[in-house]
């Protein structure tokens, strides 16, 4: 077994520098690497390019990095719940590259698995396709999209073991698995870190080979964006 554990969030973030490109897992606030984000804020690194489906809310998730003006550019599919984001974007302080969600996921997966480019129909005929190579397959137009290049990927899983194997929970899985191994260094934080051998090899979502550093997060707030419930009858 190759031990991928690091002592804590400080060691996990060793080598993160200003001007780097970071992938950050999560969908909305679900499944975000809370502890790594907190440490990024603390570290004060600046001029970051962040690849993440969303940009958090004003006071949580990547919103915390936006508040500190640590982000130069966001690459996302949906950024609709964040006033500070909108302000920085409309004022031109923040560069934003909006891309279709499926393309975002597939460009991560391509980086993970050594596929430099692929064709997808998403975005054909829209401004997303501008300047991109187009080709018909079975009479249907597609555009060529490329694998991402990132320095670090920060992901969050439910359980993990010393070998870096990960199991996600519910829809907190989302972009986390496809970002593992898609950057030079992948840092996984987990709610529960167990010794190698405790996870069933058949139930592992992401093998440890895709994860460079793993640690157990100190605490998880797991904030809910839209608490929707029904009454008991």
């Amino acid at each position: 077994m190759i031990n991928r554990t690091v002592k804590g969030v400080e060691e996990a973030l060793e080598g993160v520098k200003s001007d780097m490109t970071l992938m950050v897992g999560g969908f909305g606030l679900s499944g975000i690497p809370e502890n790594s984000i907190a440490q990024l804020v603390k570290s004060g690194v600046k001029n970051l390019t962040c690849i993440s489906n969303n940009a958090g809310v004003d006071d949580f998730g990547l919103g915390l990095l936006l508040q500190g003006k640590q982000i130069k550019k966001m690459i996302s599919s949906y950024v609709g719940e964040n006033d500070e984001f909108e302000r920085q974007m409309l004022s031109g302080e923040l560069e934003v590259d909006l891309i279709p969600q499926g393309t975002l996921a597939e460009r991560c997966r391509a980086a993970q698995s050594g596929i430099p480019a692929f064709f997808t129909p998403a975005g054909y005929g829209t401004e997303v396709a501008e300047g991109k190579e187009m080709r018909n397959f079975k009479g249907k137009p597609h555009i060529l999209e490329h694998a991402f290049n990132a320095d670090f990927a920060f992901v969050k899983a439910w359980k993990g073991d010393e070998a870096g194997n990960l199991i996600f929970k519910g829809t907190a899985r989302n972009f986390n698995p496809v970002m593992c191994g898609a950057a030079t260094i992948t840092v996984a934080e987990v709610e529960e870190l167990v010794p190698a051998g405790e996870l069933d090899p058949n139930e592992i979502h992401i093998p440890g080979i895709f994860v460079k550093r793993i640690f157990q997060g100190e605490k998880y707030e797991k904030r809910i964006e839209q608490r929707t419930v029904r009454k008991r009858e």
Partner: protein, 217 residues
């Protein structure tokens, strides 16, 4: 004239037995409530769940189980969770039978715009561009006109496009319309709505062929 719930109820009639359905944020989410009991249908949410159920009971919300609108949800027996690449594999690979989404504008050739108002609002396309580029059966749920009273069914979209030539049907507060090669073909009127009212609210080419029945809701 229909309200949002009326639109959702009418669209629910388009859902067929055995359909996997992706519901967008807003009115489309309501559709799930009006699918007849006993019909075999599964709802997919692109953030990674198939087999969505109702909202959770109070106190049973789980931050790790949400839909694409970031609402807490539950799952039904037979549900599954998966990552975002797999989720869009389902969508791009045309395994989802029906897509229902909102729009700011629909053009008579089936173009749709729903993600950006230049200089004003840029929320992003989320999964909408993948959905409209891939799905073969797409229904738009929206109001017939915007808040200023201007038609949202146009000759040509004025806003940045989400997809081209992709919408099959539009259900609004006033009508059900099919997108055909020659324009919006009026299929049904909302209860109490006249053809004249629909004409006045539709900028794009409106095709009225024979008797137009009232919706049956």
């Amino acid at each position: 004239m229909l309200d949002k719930i009326g639109i959702a109820k009418r669209i629910a009639q388009e859902v067929k037995n055995g359909y996997y359905v992706n519901l967008g944020i807003g009115i489309p989410t309501l559709v799930a409530n009006y699918v007849p009991d006993g019909m075999e249908v599964e709802f997919q949410s692109e953030n990674g769940v198939l087999g969505m159920g109702a909202f959770p009971f109070e106190g049973e919300e789980d931050a790790d189980v949400i839909n694409a609108g970031k609402q807490t949800i539950t799952t039904l027996p037979g549900a599954s969770f998966f990552d975002s690449a797999t989720s869009f594999g389902m969508i791009r690979g045309q395994h989802v039978d029906l897509t229902i989404l909102g729009a700011m504008e629909v053009a008579e050739n089936g173009d749709i715009a729903n993600w950006k108002i230049p200089g004003k609002m840029v929320k992003g396309m989320g999964g909408a561009m993948d959905l409209v580029a891939s799905a073969e059966n797409i229904i738009v749920a929206m109001m017939h006109t915007n808040r200023a009273g201007a038609s949202k069914l146009l000759r040509k979209c004025s806003l940045p496009l989400t997809g081209v030539n992709c919408i099959n049907k539009v259900v609004t507060n006033l009508a059900v319309l099919e997108v055909t090669d020659t324009g919006f073909k009026l299929l049904e009127r909302a209860p109490g709505v006249s053809i004249e009212e629909i004409k006045n609210a539709t900028e794009g080419n409106l095709i009225i062929d024979g008797e137009i029945p009232e919706m049956n809701i």
